[in-house]
């Protein structure tokens, strides 16, 4: 049986009809198959059992596959937001917010994975903007400088959204959070080093006196959470902006041989070569242009371009209310802003896909359209970095997901022309 699905600009039509694992052949695509390379014209991508089976030019489509004609439009890997609170937040009220543990003993050991809400209304909005993966990081803990452990999400429909638990331990430094560490950022770095020292001791099996370790300032559970960091199994995320803090992070890498990811790095361009040489990845807000705080004095719109040019692996987070609510559109438009300020387009796409995959340790199954990878892909109705564009089709792990959201359903209910309807909108 051979279906031909003509993808048109979707006006309120549900696409949930193909909910099972599809076998799909996307033909005639302008496909970004190799990271950093120009697109392949007239490409065919074969999706079988959730994975990319083959991708390239002149592929024969086996019988029985559903064919989606891309008609020359752009196909990219599904996008990834590199620092959000998706799955942990809903309306901003405390009862729907699970992104931080602000009292109690949990610090570095706090783990967001148990709070993830696959029925969050934020997830369909992000999906409909082409987002298929997201790093989820905790914020603002009770035991500074540590916020806890983050997780990678896949934006599948249904309950199965946890892609990689405990993907990183997050710490936060800088002037705006210094009061929580007693009032000085120096205390933040001392606490960080003390914790890493304790984790080093705890990581050595012969040291059997963990409970007796009086030199640590952290509880054993919080120290244990840092052991994978000192063993280089997961990165330590440091939220930091100011050059002096970035240099402290670089020293930490030199002294402890750990993997560090910087989240923020408004002044990263000032130490780009040092970050690059230590293989410190940076997650940045591409809109940051202004000294929002004293820590961000050196913010500039070409930060992404300058870091990328120095060889730093960059990826994107969103600012302000967009962090999770517009986790998709904010980073793809933001990537466009970075391109407008000097970042090559193909590098911007890497920063939305393969770079965050590498940064968060899921590059084995997500980030490119190479055979064997999870079939996260987006067929776009235009340039994905343009705010006017949107996905025409999104696959997450080979399944076509609905592009319907609370927002599109409300738009349907209140569309122009319905104003004179005597039947209240609630019946629509």
């Amino acid at each position: 049986m051979k279906h031909v699905l003509l993808i048109t600009l979707l006006t309120f039509s549900s696409t949930a009809i193909f909910a099972q694992h599809d076998t799909i052949a996307i033909t005639g695509a302008k496909a970004y198959l190799q990271p950093g390379q120009p697109p392949v014209e007239d490409a065919t991508i074969l999706v079988v059992k959730g994975r990319v089976q083959a991708a390239g030019v002149g592929l024969v489509v086996p019988p029985g596959m559903r064919i989606v004609e891309a008609k020359g439009r752009i196909v990219t890997p599904g996008l990834m937001n590199s620092a959000s609170q998706l799955g942990l937040v809903e309306t901003g009220t405390p009862d729907t917010t699970d992104s931080a543990v602000t009292t109690g003993p949990l610090g570095a050991s706090f783990d967001v994975q148990y709070a993830l809400n696959p029925n969050s209304t934020l997830l369909p909005v992000a999906r409909a903007d082409g987002l298929t993966r997201a790093m989820v990081v905790p914020v603002a803990s009770a035991t500074p400088p540590f916020d806890g452990r983050g997780a990678v999400l896949r934006l599948s429909e249904g309950p199965d959204i946890l892609d990689l638990p405990q993907a990183a331990v997050v710490a936060e430094v800088g002037g705006m959070v210094a009061p929580k560490s007693g009032g000085s950022r120096s205390a933040q770095w001392m606490l960080l080093r003390s914790a890493l020292d304790a984790a080093r001791r705890a990581a050595v099996p012969s040291t059997l006196h963990k409970e007796d370790d009086k030199s640590t300032l952290l509880s054993p559970a919080n120290v244990a959470a840092l052991v994978p960091v000192v063993k280089r199994r997961v990165p330590l995320v440091i939220v930091a902006y100011r050059e002096s803090d970035l240099r402290q992070a670089i020293s930490l890498v030199d002294d402890y041989k750990i993997r560090v990811v910087i989240l923020g790095a408004e002044e990263g361009w000032r130490v780009a070569d040092l970050l690059s040489s230590r293989k410190i990845a940076v997650v940045l807000d591409p809109y940051a242009s202004t000294p929002t705080t004293y820590d961000q004095m050196g913010a500039r719109l070409d930060n992404a371009a300058l870091l990328d040019r120095a060889g730093v692996v960059i990826s994107f987070k969103a600012a302000f209310v967009h962090v999770s609510y517009n986790a998709g559109i904010a980073i793809r438009e933001g990537a466009g802003v970075a391109v407008a300020n000097g970042l090559p387009w193909s590098h911007a796409l890497k920063a939305l896909t393969v770079n965050p995959a590498e940064t968060w340790g899921i590059e084995g199954h997500y980030g490119t359209l190479q055979p064997g990878m999870d079939a996260d892909l987006v067929l776009w109705d235009g340039d994905p970095l343009e705010p006017m564009s949107a996905p025409a089709m999104v696959l997450v792990r080979g399944r076509q997901v609905s592009l319907e959201t609370r927002q599109t359903l409300l738009e349907k209910r209140y569309r122009p022309g319905m104003a004179g309807d005597p039947v209240p909108p609630g019946y629509r």
């Binding site: 202004t290 961000q296 050196g298 302000f320 006017m388 609370r406 738009e411």
Partner: protein
């Protein structure tokens, strides 16, 4: 060609005429106040000292022109003379002494007008002290009608330059939304300055910022103070308008007697602003998210006879477009902010497009500088969402959301907001289509003077704050 000068707009008669034209709904109220009360024009003790920057007559030529009033002109030019637009169209001749800018491949639009900004009163950098006490909200009382945003503005806020580079030439700076009555807003020309009076838009009407919903309710309710509910909010508005009506009556009686030997009633800063609203001398800009709240507030305005210029952050405007039209109330929105609080949960990205399609008045505002730097991209987001929801808004219409519509809301459409002969030469030359993420404002004019030129470092003003900051300078 009729030229409107600044004194035209500041003249009370002219202003009343303009009000009537734009907002017929308040005709009666104005007639009553001018015949019976004879209240004098609203004084401004902090008058503008704005002077245009040095300027050269300029022809911007060979561009795609979006004129701000619904037209798209191809291969067209805009001629600027003595700070005004004097001609627009194809094959314009540059008079002797006129500089020509070849804008081939680029677009030209009116300068953008941001009707909701906090630059200067919520100045960067933000500090920990601002978390408790900041210049954007006077939080000592839910009725702070006596305060003026003008008095909070730090002109050295580096964000003014960022949004100038994004094409914003006029901005209304408002107090925040913690209070029911937040205080007066002020309209600024986005020029580098040393005092706020040098930025003040000459003759512009002040506004009164008011707020619905969660912000006043939680700001005061969580402190155990009034108001602590939505119904408390509305009671707070109505009680204040009752007092203001009485205050106005006392003063109107005094004016009517025209007897200089009489002792005038006692002045009250709070009630003075509210009475000016009741006289139509100040329009209300109201922070209001939800459709049901907006409907209630429009009835309060009718009850007391004042005019709401616009609902700001009106995420549910799309639910009540006919009602907004009927009340002649414009709405100012973000393109895509939603969900961060309960009252923002029903936001839709096609909001602006739906209001436009329903014949309502729509503006896009920044609120935060991250949006102020790229208002045209917010418009693009709204256009894209509209398209997918079945409503196509052409670019020449969408640009009105950022130009003529906010100019009308500010009662300044006689001077700014479109590229028409006689208007102020507030103009942006874009590197390409302004609704594309890859496009940037190349040259920005205010009153015919270049205030920003991306290719000329001598025309890129920085704030004093940024001077001598090692973190900003490029390392060797």
């Amino acid at each position: 060609m009729q030229e409107l000068t600044m004194s035209d707009l500041s003249h009370p008669k002219r202003r009343n005429l303009r009000l009537v034209r734009v907002f017929p709904g308040i005709l009666i109220c104005l007639v009553v106040s001018s015949v019976v009360a004879q209240a004098p024009a609203l004084p401004n003790p902090f008058p503008s000292t704005y002077k245009p920057l040095p300027r050269t007559d300029t022809l911007i030529d060979n561009a795609t022109v979006l004129d701000g009033i619904g037209h798209r002109l191809l291969n067209a030019g805009v001629l600027l003379h003595a700070g005004k637009i004097i001609a627009i169209g194809q094959h314009l001749q540059a008079p002797p002494g006129t500089k020509t800018i070849d804008a081939r491949g680029g677009f030209v639009t009116p300068g953008l007008v941001d009707v909701h900004s906090h630059l200067g009163d919520f100045a960067a950098p933000y500090t920990l002290r601002d978390e408790k006490v900041s210049d954007v909200n006077e939080e000592s009382s839910p009725n702070s009608a006596e305060v003026w945003a003008l008095h909070s503005i730090r002109v050295q806020d580096p964000q003014f330059a960022r949004v100038r580079a994004g094409g914003v030439t006029t901005l209304q700076v408002l107090p925040g939304s913690s209070d029911l009555f937040g205080g007066r807003g002020v309209v600024l020309k986005n020029v580098p300055a040393v005092t706020v009076q040098q930025m003040e838009f000459p003759g512009a009407m002040p506004s009164l910022k008011m707020a619905c919903g969660e912000n006043p309710k939680y700001t005061f309710g969580e402190k155990g103070q009034f108001p602590s509910s939505e119904m408390g909010n509305v009671a707070g508005y109505r009680q204040a308008w009752i007092e203001a009506s009485e205050y106005r009556r006392r003063w109107d009686d005094y004016y009517a007697k025209q007897d200089s030997s009489l002792r005038p009633p006692a002045r009250d800063l709070k009630l003075e602003t509210l009475a000016a609203v009741l006289r139509g001398q100040i329009l209300v800009d109201m922070h209001c998210y939800r459709a049901d709240e907006m409907a209630v507030v429009m009835d309060v305005a009718k009850e007391f006879g004042y005019k709401i210029a616009a609902f700001h952050h009106a995420v549910e405007a799309y639910k009540i477009v006919p009602l907004l039209k009927e009340n002649h109330v414009c709405v100012a929105v973000w393109a895509d902010w939603w969900g961060f609080k309960v009252e923002a949960y029903d936001a839709v990205r096609a909001n602006a497009a739906f209001v436009e399609a329903g014949g309502g008045c729509i503006m896009l505002h920044s609120d935060a500088p991250i949006s102020g730097e790229r208002l045209t991209l917010d418009a693009a987001l709204a256009m894209g969402a509209g398209h997918r929801a079945g409503v196509d808004i052409p670019e020449e219409r969408a640009i009105e959301w950022l130009t003529i519509n906010p100019a009308k809301s500010l009662q300044l459409d006689g001077q700014i907001g479109s590229l028409e002969p006689g208007k102020n030469a507030d103009v942006v030359v874009w590197s390409g289509d302004p609704f594309s993420v890859y496009t940037r404002a190349n040259i920005v004019f205010i009153d015919g003077a270049i205030v920003f030129d991306r290719n000329d470092p001598s025309r890129q003003a920085t704030s004093d704050f940024e001077v001598g900051q090692p973190a900003i300078e490029r390392p060797q």
